[in-house]
C-alpha cells in the first residue's frame, strides 16, 4: 500500500510543479493541477487505438488515456449496450448511425473545437470540393450533426453540434498481385473474371463485403442500385445470386475476416485479387512481395471514423475530453496516421508534423524523394515510388460509396450467411 501512495504523491508533486510552471508561462489550462488525475477510457477499432497516442497524450496534456482495441462488431455492441464502460468512443460513422439512437453519446459543441473550420468538407457539407458529388452510403456528414446537445435526429446541415469528431478515414479498393496477374486491372468486374478462378477473395464481414459485391455487380452492369449503402431486398437478392453462382463455380479461394488473413492470402499467392485494406497492402509489400492497391474506374469504397463522447461525461472529465479532441486535431496524431497511409480530418495541421517529402508522397501523390518510413521507422517505399491512386483529391474525390448500415440490415445478414453456406 505504501508504494503506490508514494508514487502518486510524487506524481502529484510533479503535477503541481508542472501546474505552477504552466501558470507562470501563461498556459490556458487553468485546471492543470486536477487534470493529472483524470483518466479517460477510450475504446475503438485497432486502426487508431494506438499506444503511441496514449503516451503522447500523457506527455502533452498530462492526463491518462486508457485504450481498448476491439473489432467493429464488438465496438458496436459495447457502444450500444455498455455506456458506463467508456468515456470516449472511437467508432466509424456507420456505427454512429446505429448507436446514436441509444442516447449513449453526447453531441459536441463545435464552438469549443479550435480547428473546426479547418476540418475537411467531407465531414461538414459532405463535399470535398464545392463541385464534388456526394457519394452513396452512410456519408459522414449525414450522421455528423444533430439538433442541439441532446438531439437524437441527424441533421443535414451544420448545426454546431457534432456527433463525432472525424479522426481518420481512407478510400478502399481491390488489392492485386501485379506479378501474378501480368496485365493492367482497371475495373471492379475483374474480381469475378473467370481468369482468376480460384484466386479471388472477398472479405467475410457482411456490412462491408456486400458493398464490395455491389461495386462489382454495378460495374458488370448486372444490377442498378438506387443506393449501394441502402439496398432494397430485391437488390440484395440479385447481388447475392451473382456472388453465390461465382462461389459455386469456384471463383473464390477463401474469404477473410481478419487483417492478418488478408495479408497471408495475398503474400502466399493463394489469392491474386481481393478486397483489401490499405495497411494490409503495406504489410505484404514490406515482405518484399509486389502488391498494388489498384485504383479502379468505378471509384472507391470509403470509410471514416471519429471520436464521440459518452453521455456520462461531465465537469472536469468533459473539459479534458474537449482538450483531447483539440489536441487530436492539432496535427501530431494526424501526421502519425498519415504516415501510415490514412488521412487526417485536418490535413493542414498534420503537415507541420510531416517532412516535405512525406507530405508530398502521402498527400499530394508526388514521387518520393528519399525513403518513406512509417512512424515506427520501417521503410515503406523507396525513392521514386508514387502512392497508388495518387493524391488526396484524386483518391477521396473518387469515392463511390461510404461504408453503411442498411435499413434491411437483418435481411442482408441472413442472405450473406446463405452465401457463405452455399
Amino acid at each position: 500500500m505504501t508504494k503506490p501512495l508514494g508514487i502518486s504523491r510524487r506524481s502529484m508533486l510533479k503535477g503541481t510543479a508542472a501546474g505552477v510552471a504552466a501558470s507562470t508561462i501563461g498556459a490556458p489550462t487553468i485546471w492543470a493541477q486536477n487534470i493529472k488525475d483524470v483518466t479517460l477510457r477510450q475504446f475503438g477499432t485497432g486502426v487508431s487505438n494506438l499506444n503511441e497516442v496514449a503516451k503522447k497524450v500523457k506527455e502533452d496534456l498530462g492526463f491518462t488515456l486508457e485504450m481498448t482495441a476491439l473489432d467493429s462488431d464488438a465496438v458496436t455492441q459495447r457502444a450500444a449496450t455498455q455506456p458506463k464502460s467508456f468515456d470516449i468512443a472511437d467508432i466509424e460513422y456507420w456505427i454512429c448511425k446505429k448507436v446514436w439512437p441509444t442516447g449513449n453519446l453526447q453531441a459536441m459543441d463545435t464552438s469549443k473545437i479550435k480547428n473546426y473550420d479547418k476540418i475537411v468538407g467531407i465531414f461538414k457539407s459532405g463535399k470535398l470540393t464545392p463541385e464534388s458529388v456526394i457519394a452513396q452510403g452512410t456519408a459522414p456528414h449525414s450522421v455528423g450533426f444533430v439538433e442541439g446537445a441532446n438531439g437524437t435526429t441527424f441533421s443535414d446541415t451544420e448545426t454546431g453540434w457534432m456527433t463525432l469528431i472525424p479522426t481518420i478515414y481512407n478510400a478502399d479498393t481491390l488489392g492485386i498481385r501485379p506479378d501474378l496477374i501480368g496485365r493492367s486491372i482497371s475495373s471492379w468486374t475483374e474480381l469475378l473474371n473467370p481468369e482468376f478462378k480460384g484466386k479471388a477473395s472477398i472479405l467475410d464481414i457482411s456490412s462491408i463485403g456486400i458493398m464490395d459485391a455491389a461495386m462489382v455487380c454495378e460495374a458488370m452492369g448486372e444490377v442498378q442500385y438506387g443506393d449501394k449503402g441502402n439496398m432494397t431486398r430485391e437488390e440484395i437478392d440479385k447481388t447475392m445470386a451473382i456472388f453465390t453462382e461465382a462461389k459455386k463455380n469456384g471463383q473464390f479461394r477463401a474469404f477473410w475476416k481478419t487483417f492478418d488473413e488478408s495479408v497471408n492470402l495475398m503474400a502466399s499467392g493463394e489469392v491474386v485479387i481481393q478486397s483489401m485494406w490499405s495497411p494490409a497492402i503495406t504489410a505484404v509489400r514490406s515482405q518484399g512481395i509486389p502488391c498494388v492497391y489498384q485504383p479502379l474506374a468505378e471509384g472507391y469504397r470509403s470509410w471514416g471514423g471519429g471520436i464521440g463522447l459518452s453521455a456520462n461525461l461531465s465537469g472536469l472529465e468533459l473539459e479534458a475530453a474537449y482538450e483531447y479532441i483539440n489536441w487530436y486535431l492539432d496535427g501530431w496524431v494526424g501526421g502519425f496516421l498519415m504516415r501510415q497511409g490514412y488521412y487526417s480530418a485536418v490535413p493542414e495541421t498534420s503537415k507541420n508534423y510531416m517532412s516535405e517529402d512525406e507530405w508530398g508522397f502521402w498527400f499530394e501523390g508526388k514521387p518520393a524523394q528519399g525513403d518513406i518510413t512509417n512512424p515506427f521507422g520501417t521503410v515503406m517505399e523507396k525513392a521514386g515510388a508514387v502512392r497508388d491512386g495518387g493524391s488526396f483529391y484524386d483518391r477521396m474525390g473518387a469515392v463511390a460509396c461510404w461504408n453503411a448500415v442498411m435499413d434491411e440490415n437483418q435481411y442482408m445478414v441472413r442472405k450473406w450467411n446463405e452465401f457463405i453456406a452455399a
Binding site: 446505429k98 502466399s268 445478414v413 453456406a421
Partner: protein, 308 residues
C-alpha cells in the same frame, strides 16, 4: 480374518450404539449422502444448468439491431426451421462429424491396439503413449493453422509432389476445402479416441485372448469376437468426445475452409457477432438437442456405467 469375522458378528450391536449415540444429523444415511453430493450439484447447477436454462429462455426473446428484448415468441425457431440454409448447414455438420468419427476410430483403434497388445514392456507402452500426447503441448489453434502453409498452393505438400513429378499443377483442393477441414479434425481429435480405447484394452484380461487362441480362433476372429466387444465402452467414450467436439466446433471449419464452408458453430458465432443473441440461442438449443439425441442413441448400444 477371525477378528474381522468376530467384528462382523458383533456389528449389529455396534451399529445400534453408534446410531443411538450419534443421533445427530449426519447419522441419517440419506442426508449425509445428499450433503456429500451437494457441492458438486451446486457447482453444476450454477455453471451448467443455469446457463443452459438461460440460453433456452433467451431463444424465445426478440432482438433488434443492438438490443435484445424479453418476450415469448417463436420467430427465431420459425426462421431457423423455415430456412433451407439451416438444413444444409446441419447436414454439413453431421457429415463432418461422421467422416471425422470414421477416421479417428480407425486410426485411434489401430494405435491403441498396437500399444496395448504389440508393445510388451510397460515402460515402452508408457513412453509411446506419452509420445502421442506431445502435440498437445501446443495450442489446438496453432496445430490447426500450421496446416495452412503446408497445404497451400505454394506449400510444402504441393512443392514436394511437383518435384517428385507426380503432378504438374499444384492441387488446389488440398487447402480451403472439405478435405483440409476433415484432415485438421482428424489430426486434432484422434488422441481423444486413442486414450479411452487404450484404457479399456489394457483392462482386458489377457487369459481371455489366450483362451480364444486355445479354442482355435484366428487373429481376426479374436479381434472381432473378443477384443472389439470388450473395447466397446472405450470406443463409445471416444466417439462421444469426437462427435461432440466436431459438432460444436466453429474455428477449425472457418480457418481450414477459408470461410467457404459453414457448420452450425459458425452460424451461432455469426449471430453473436451481429448481436442476434436470441437467434444464436435458438440455433444453440437445436444443436444441443441434436447432440444429446446422438449421444442418447450411442448409449443404447453400450451401457458405459456397467462396463467401466
Amino acid at each position: 480374518m477371525v477378528s474381522i469375522l468376530q467384528e462382523k458378528t458383533s456389528s449389529p450391536t455396534g451399529e445400534e450404539v453408534q446410531r443411538r449415540s450419534g443421533a445427530s444429523l449426519f447419522a441419517n444415511r440419506h442426508l449425509s449422502g445428499w450433503l456429500m453430493a451437494a457441492p458438486l450439484a451446486i457447482v453444476l447447477l450454477i455453471f451448467l444448468v443455469l446457463p443452459i436454462v438461460m440460453i433456452v429462455v433467451v431463444s424465445f426473446w426478440r432482438a433488434t439491431e443492438f438490443s435484445i428484448l424479453p418476450a415469448f415468441v417463436f420467430e427465431n425457431y420459425e426462421f431457423l426451421f423455415g430456412s433451407e440454409v439451416t438444413y444444409r448447414v446441419f447436414f454439413n455438420t453431421l457429415k463432418y462429424a461422421a467422416i471425422t468419427w470414421a477416421f479417428t476410430l480407425l486410426i485411434g483403434f489401430t494405435v491403441a491396439y498396437f500399444l496395448a497388445f504389440h508393445v510388451r514392456s510397460l515402460i515402452w507402452q508408457v513412453a509411446l503413449f506419452l509420445l502421442c500426447t506431445i502435440p498437445f503441448w501446443t495450442s489446438n489453434i496453432i496445430r490447426m493453422i500450421s496446416w495452412i502453409p503446408f497445404l497451400g498452393r505454394n506449400g510444402l505438400a504441393n512443392q514436394t509432389l511437383i518435384s517428385w513429378g507426380l503432378i504438374d499443377e499444384p492441387l488446389d483442393w488440398l487447402l480451403f476445402s472439405d478435405f483440409s477441414v476433415i484432415l485438421a479434425f482428424v489430426h486434432l481429435y484422434t488422441l481423444f479416441m486413442v486414450v479411452p480405447i487404450f484404457n479399456t484394452m489394457m483392462r482386458i484380461d489377457r487369459s481371455l485372448i489366450e483362451a480364444a487362441y486355445d479354442a482355435g480362433a484366428t487373429g481376426w476372429q479374436t479381434l472381432w469376437n473378443v477384443i472389439i466387444p470388450l473395447t466397446k465402452p472405450g470406443i463409445m467414450i471416444g466417439t462421444i468426445f469426437v462427435v461432440t467436439l466436431v459438432m460444436g466446433d466453429f474455428i477449425t471449419v472457418r480457418f481450414m475452409s477459408g470461410s467457404q464452408s459453414a457448420n452450425v458453430g459458425r452460424l451461432i458465432s455469426n449471430d453473436i457477432a451481429l448481436l442476434q443473441y436470441p437467434s444464436a440461442s435458438a440455433t444453440a438449443v437445436i444443436l444441443l438437442v441434436t447432440v444429446l439425441m446422438i449421444i442418447g442413441i450411442l448409449l443404447r448400444f453400450v451401457d458405459i456405467r456397467k462396463e467401466l
